[in-house]
Amino acid sequence: MRHVLRGVLALQVAVFAIWGRSLMAAYEPGAAGRKSVATVWLATEPIDPRDLLAGNYVALRYGSLDAEHAKCPKPLERDTAYVAIAPTGRRVVTSEGEVELSDAVECRTDRPPRGDGRVWIVGHRDATPGRERLVYGIERMYVSESSPLRNVRSGDVVAKVVVNDSFAPRIVGLVTTSRNTEPPR
């Protein structure tokens, strides 16, 4: 019996090791044949932080990635949609310097070609009746208990998001802004 259980333990360790390695490599340029990783900045509206499964987090809503704003077909024909995002020209000053915000400019339900020079992110349809919308997997930012980010308000922060060439976005930072800068004329 112990040999069987040691095998189970080894399997558990292997599952978590492989999963962890793949999560770490998902946004490394050059890892696993990955060619490109883009970084974009998105305006976001933080919602009250909650305390569940994996600790405290800030729940985020992205008006700029809303299915209607992105002009996705309504109703969505498939469970996934691809949204192209591009810089808007609107710039904000953050603790990481001045950055330009991006916004959705196009939506399609078939997979876009790789390497077309545009940044596409994949969203999944939330099919709850009465609230059809796209969920991107960047709707939460986990923070520590003492993080000041737990008290931020709408318009105070922007989200730093990386997108790999599988079109999967991952939030890597929630950065406070000091002031807005008008778009260049």
């Binding site: 019996m1 259980l5 333990l9 360790v13 569940l52 499964l53 709850t128 993080s147």
Partner: protein
């Protein structure tokens, strides 16, 4: 995570409570003393049995085992909070490495201490059981994973931990594994927005059966229900084994109440489904050979349905509401199955034993007939059925007391007394308004109860006399 721990601790405490009510341990010493006084056993035999029982109880670990279980759960909750406190300054590689080392270390330590004292082995086993779930939480936090179905993460944990449950030398881990599976099935199948409850911003679960559900949802649900049944029958000790049979009728009732293809919003059809499911549960336990205490939850469910429907004597108008075709067919099938089970089973219902099966069968069928009235769309029928349910409950309670007294089953007598008192108290609150009328009603009820008590006592004495004569 903390919610899961609270739910599981509550479930284990309930299981402990349920086990504590099973017959045996606490009744043994007075029973042996009575046997010694009656000359059935000698004083030395009594002492030997008590000593053997004490050693056996110690081996089973009793209170020590539960202390160890709660010790393990506290450590698990502590590790969960440590993970949740978010060590954002530590890089992902270090976090993953530390977790893998912890998992390997705890798993190996749990393996080495499996056969040692519960105080060491059980906390380690519990920590090993929960560590994959804590690891999933750590990964979610470290890599900012969101937007998916949180129940899939719980399912991954249940799959990874299943071998620990199946090979555990103690019942604690299998009990927790089964309780977690039950929670996943009901949450995933019937909660309208899993996301809002478990993780705000997320949608329905992959397991959702609302509005039809996907093929994957039905398949995974069937697999989980099968796993619950198999694990309960194979891994749990006998006193706990039969509680989980009730999961299946509860799940069918969930199908009817929630917005599934079987949705029923008609109170009459729901009443018929509820009594049919409770009856099927009761008969199924009898067929599986469950004892009096093991089938107490089903008996209480049956009595509770009849008691709940006894209030409908306030309702003059016929019940109405939408009932889907699927829901009607399912309810009729369950009702037919209940009726056939009652007719075909040798122990068809409440407190049934050889010689009493005809009366029990009649009571069960009468209940099915009375609750069938609720689907008839004629005004006055709910009132009539409500009166019928009052009569049914009074007959069932009296029958339980009577048969309990005859069979020497204190549990049946207690259940009957409880049901009758509940019926009397609720009807007093319903019927009597003025002090004079309430006073008269209470006196009449008291006299009736005293008469019933006298009749039961005489029956018990008659039985004792006949057994003494048989012994001579």
């Amino acid at each position: 995570m903390a919610w899961w721990i609270i739910v599981l601790v509550g479930a284990s405490a309930f299981a402990r409570f349920a086990r504590g009510r099973s017959p045996g341990r606490d009744d043994l010493v007075p029973t042996l003393e009575a046997a010694e006084k009656a000359g059935v056993i000698s004083a030395s035999q009594r002492e030997q049995i008590v000593a053997l029982h004490a050693r056996s109880a110690l081996h089973e670990s009793g209170g020590v085992g539960w202390l160890a279980a709660f010790a393990g759960l506290f450590v698990v909750a502590g590790v969960s909070l440590l993970v949740a406190s978010n060590w954002e300054r530590i890089g992902p590689a270090t976090r993953i490495g530390a977790f893998l080392l912890l998992l390997a270390g705890v798993g190996e330590a749990a393996l080495r201490s499996r056969d040692r004292e519960a105080a060491i082995g059980l906390p380690l086993e519990l920590l090993w059981f929960f560590l994959p779930l804590l690891g999933i939480g750590l990964y979610v936090q470290t890599f900012q994973i969101s937007g998916g179905d949180p129940l899939l993460a719980v399912l991954l944990w249940l799959a990874l931990s299943a071998p620990v449950s199946w090979t555990s030398p103690r019942p604690v881990v299998p009990t927790l594994h089964i309780v977690a599976m039950v929670a996943v099935v009901f949450t995933g199948n019937f909660l309208a927005t899993v996301g809002d409850w478990l993780a705000p911003g997320l949608s329905r679960s992959t397991l959702s059966l609302l509005d039809g559900g996907t093929f994957t949802a039905w398949t995974m649900t069937a697999a989980l229900l099968a796993a619950i049944v198999v694990e309960s029958l194979r891994l749990l000790p006998r006193p706990h084994r039969f509680h989980f049979v009730g999961v299946l009728p509860a799940w069918v009732l969930g199908l009817l109440c929630a917005a599934t293809p079987f949705h029923v919003a008609h109170p009459g059809w729901l009443a018929l489904a509820a009594i049919s499911l409770a009856t099927t549960w009761l008969v199924a336990l009898g067929a599986l050979g469950a004892g009096t205490n093991e089938s107490s939850s089903a008996s209480i469910a049956w009595l509770a349905v009849v008691w709940g429907l006894s209030f409908t004597w306030h309702t003059p108008d016929a019940f109405s509401g939408h009932a889907s075709a699927g829901g009607i067919v399912l309810t009729l099938l369950v009702t037919a199955a209940a009726a056939l089970a009652v007719l075909g089973s040798p122990s068809p219902g409440l407190g049934s034993r050889p010689g009493h099966s005809a009366r029990s069968r009649l009571l069960m069928l009468a209940a099915l007939g009375v609750e069938s009235l609720y689907i008839v769309p004629i005004d006055g029928i709910p009132w009539l059925a409500g009166v019928g349910n009052n009569a049914l409950l009074a007959v069932a309670a009296t029958g339980l007391m009577w048969q309990g007294a005859e069979a020497g089953q204190a549990a049946w007598v207690n259940l009957g007394v409880g049901a009758l008192l509940l019926l009397l108290v609720t009807r007093f609150l319903d019927v009597f308004g003025s002090l004079f009328a309430s006073g008269l009603g209470l006196i009449v009820a008291g006299l009736l109860l005293a008469g019933l008590s006298l009749a039961l006592e005489r029956t018990r004495r008659r039985l004792l006399r006949s057994s003494d004569e048989a012994a001579r």
